[in-house]
């Protein structure tokens, strides 16, 4: 059994706790949260310890640590976890500051403790089936990756103000997914941003709520990402891979497929699955499974620390592209 210490018992931490508890080869060693009752509730639900500090978690006999605390703590906790010899799975992003993330990477160099970043979408069965069609040759040579990613609604203002901006907070998932699908490093980025959902807040933060990013590789492959902070019809998550031999489209999900036909209308009875907890549940399960395999030495983490740094560099390039109204070479960031 891989015993995992959980830092952070918010929405995503609780979800990870449930998944770990149900995993046949993993268990929850203990939990920590700065908000005591949240930690106690999680511990009660799963019958595990409550750590009174992050240090206690690192000093525990857990095999691994899952970091689901606020972004500003990630770098410190990753380093502490690795120093304590514990395998680390850290939620995205590594940090809002690219330099700090790179420094952390330098500090980790030489360690053989597994460190994995939580880009869950790589593990989505639909997205993976599309990629499988690429890898087994059905799509021929890849030409374009098209990612649609729209949140059902704007996060609270306070969250937005400290999120690091849409590219570092939200698009970063798609930037990583684009890299995963492209199979080749991005060398240039061109981005476009607008303030259409909450212009006042975006203006205040120097941020955008409606963006498009176009990434290019050395061989000319393109990845096109469109994002919005608000899609009133639901969480819109689609991935398309277009190649010389065909196209694969990983489409949205509903809870069921009942459709009602009436005079003048044909309506799906179920909406799109609400948000990431529902939509990417199978992906989070597979992510934990890969992490447990990594802890057990059976597999490498499918998302490395370096992947986390590279996604952050792409986010930085997107902001720079909008600011300078030009294509940014990755070598510039």
């Amino acid at each position: 059994m891989t015993r995992i210490a959980l830092l952070g018992c918010g929405r995503i931490g609780q979800m990870h706790a449930d998944i770990i508890a149900a995993h046949p080869r993993a268990s929850l060693a203990g939990v920590f949260d700065t908000h005591g009752p949240a930690a106690q509730a999680a511990a009660a639900r799963h019958g595990c310890a409550v750590y009174d500090s992050p240090e206690a978690a690192f000093a525990s006999d857990a095999d691994a640590v899952l970091i689901a605390t606020p972004t500003s703590t990630h770098v410190e906790f990753i380093k502490a976890g690795v120093a304590a010899g514990k395998a680390v799975l850290c939620e995205k992003p590594i940090d809002l500051d690219l330099g700090r993330a790179r420094d952390c990477g330098a500090a980790l160099a030489g360690s053989d403790v597994p460190v994995m970043i939580g880009f869950c979408r790589r593990f989505d069965p639909g997205h993976r089936a599309a990629r499988a069609a690429l890898l087994d040759g059905r799509l021929g040579d890849l030409h374009q990756v098209v990612i649609t990613s729209r949140d059902p609604g704007m996060a609270p203002d306070g969250y937005i103000r400290t999120s690091g901006g849409i590219f570092r907070d939200m698009t970063i998932h798609d930037l990583d997914l684009a890299r995963y699908m492209l199979g080749e490093e991005v060398i240039a980025v061109s981005a476009t941003g607008a303030r259409l959902v909450n212009p006042a807040l975006m203006e205040e933060c120097g941020d955008y709520d409606t963006v498009t990013a176009v990434l290019s590789t050395a061989s000319g492959k393109q990845a096109i990402i469109t994002n919005s902070r608000q899609a009133v019809y639901g969480y819109d998550q689609r991935v398309e891979l277009f190649g010389s031999g065909g196209m694969a489209l990983s489409d949205n999900h509903r809870e069921h497929n009942a459709v009602v036909y009436g005079q003048g209308f044909t309506n799906h009875a179920a909406p799109l699955q609400h948000f990431f907890i529902e939509r990417y549940h199978a992906a989070f399960v597979a992510e934990i499974d890969n992490f447990v395999d990594a802890v057990e030495g059976k597999a490498a983490p499918e998302v490395t620390f370096d992947d986390g740094v590279k996604a952050l560099a792409l986010a930085e390039a997107c902001f720079k592209s909008i600011a300078e109204a030009r294509t940014i070479q990755l070598s510039e960031v």
Copy 2:
């Protein structure tokens, strides 16, 4: 907490055990199986007692009993459970013999212990969404119910030989679902059967593997059921409600919605969900939820013992209709 004793740790019993363990207001009190290791494995997985006999389960302090043992034991265990004052959820069918099921019903009369039969399909979110469209008037008056239900593959010969025949074993789910959707009692049945999947075995058993049943109500509503013991493309589960105001179709499910487009083909990447464990997972969860509510006195069981008897009577009528090549009035069985 509703503490449930589980009798029978086969495939479906194990599934129920997992669902009970994850339910916020229920827990597994203990398990029994004639095959000791199966009971021990389930008990180990969920940290509960092992009963060394069904009697021990009935004598335990559990609040309720879930009967997932072979059909021949159902009547006896239902009666024993009720006698012990334990709420009962029993897998279908009640018995292969209609008279015995009716006698059991007579014996239970007057008891206020909740008894529920496991017709899980009533709880499927898609099927319920179709019914909701009927109940809220979007479909107007109901005219036809069309149920397609095909298993992915033939059960083992030994199972088939003791199953009571396709109508009592397999169609019975659809017969109950038809009654649930019709909202009015069936008065006449016309069935057609063929031996196309495994003619030799069907001949031997006097059974059919490919059947159609047409049910009628007093007001003229029709339910049409088509079944096959083997659909090589997967577990095909569709329900259609047709009325004066529209139509609702609860369609099949896949694990994901990735589609691959190539030269001359467009293929879904995921097959239909494999079988009832996968396809009706949400339904089984909702069924247990309804049962826990019933044990707690918050709701009535949505499937009664009488529903179980009536489905069995319909199954009997189907066999009789084929044998006599005529429409059978329900009053005849």
Copy 3:
């Protein structure tokens, strides 16, 4: 060029006229209708002759005659056409009286003039693609044919009163299609009928507006047909072939595939194609093409006079099955 005389310039006659006019190897020789202005309008639109009687059409130099007049005239016109040596394409049904249809068949015996009955659905590209999957082995051995066929709305009362009843007028298309798909003669029929759309009119006519027919072949193959005279959501035309190797489903059509997603709804923007003129346009084009081929001696008609008689016999058996509440052997009608 195959020169075709058209008898009957109603809705379906006009449609045939347009299709003939656009056919590269056919032209309209002339038209007849008891309502003179209808004939004149059709002639003006296509620049062809107006016959002042059916006899004039048979006496003309046309190569073929297309009979789209009321059913009661079909037998007489078929015989006259064949007597005049003109290939005949006659709309369904041959007659409302099975005996009269059979007598007509006897009268035609020995003639080598092509006679074709207008069961257009055999020519539908979707239905044919499903059948192609059967013929090329992808579906294995056929087990069940499921046909859903619902008209968008009830025909006028006057039409219903003289239609010969739903099985002879409407279901007859599906009865023929079932035979086409089964590839084996039907030996037994069981039907169920109800009066749900317009009970008073149905009562008056001794007819039904909501029916189900189950056909069986000697080898046990089943065809299940569900019909309604009124589907407020549109013309519902689906065919499903289920076999030992797979399943093919020919689904409905819309004018386009725009879908609107909003808060709480996902709606198709286009309804189902309205009625047979729209839905089966490609089928009617292919039917005329087969007829022109038959006139030119390049192909046999894909729907023979005998097919027309057999569909009528099945319709007769359906009425008899309801009346006697039993399965009818085809040998009885």
Copy 4:
């Protein structure tokens, strides 16, 4: 009757001829083609005159002229048509040279002869249904337009060499459609191009075969266009409108909707409609209808000469954006 002279009897000219011939208020007055046999075949098919020169067409008594000749002749023929007082429908693009197109526009200023450019996609029923959802408020405020447009295969090398490049030849349809959907002028363009289908030919022509264009309006609306010269799975034509109130998606078409389900696969039986002649047939019919209305003075042309110039300016901006690796303000071209 609007009598139309057709210049150019190639593939698209022949298609227009058929549509005009079937239009209830239009007829083909005559045809011209530099290749005599092509003109004679079209004239024979539709029973109209053959002009021995374009001048003869302009001098004829036709009410209107449809220009489907090579691009290099468009400006000259548009001016000649207008000078002769004939309404003009000219295929896209107006010219490969933006200056020449603008000069032509200046020359036409003051004339009230209707001039329409053949951007057929504006007339597609699915695309229009998506736009209708926008116009009637169902989508709220528009945020993003996403257009996928991929040709089934590369045009012949000779065509590509003289096409003016992908943006002027192919993307121009999408640039116009983006303007139509945005409902607001584009002020900035950022494009990305690659040579992936036929790198040698693209290199030779200084052209691209795989491109992405991102257009922005003053209010921040975005239009994202992805194009490829070759999609082996068929002609991929999708339009998506995303707004504050919802999303509309106009999806691809197939000839029919038969699907085959087998062991391990679920395949659509019909491919995507092959190419523009098939896919946009209804759009071309509606386009001619609008043109006839314009000739009769009942409606304004829905695509003006100015729309043709603006699409060309956007194409120019796309090439410039790639060349300079920066966002181009429309005011720069």
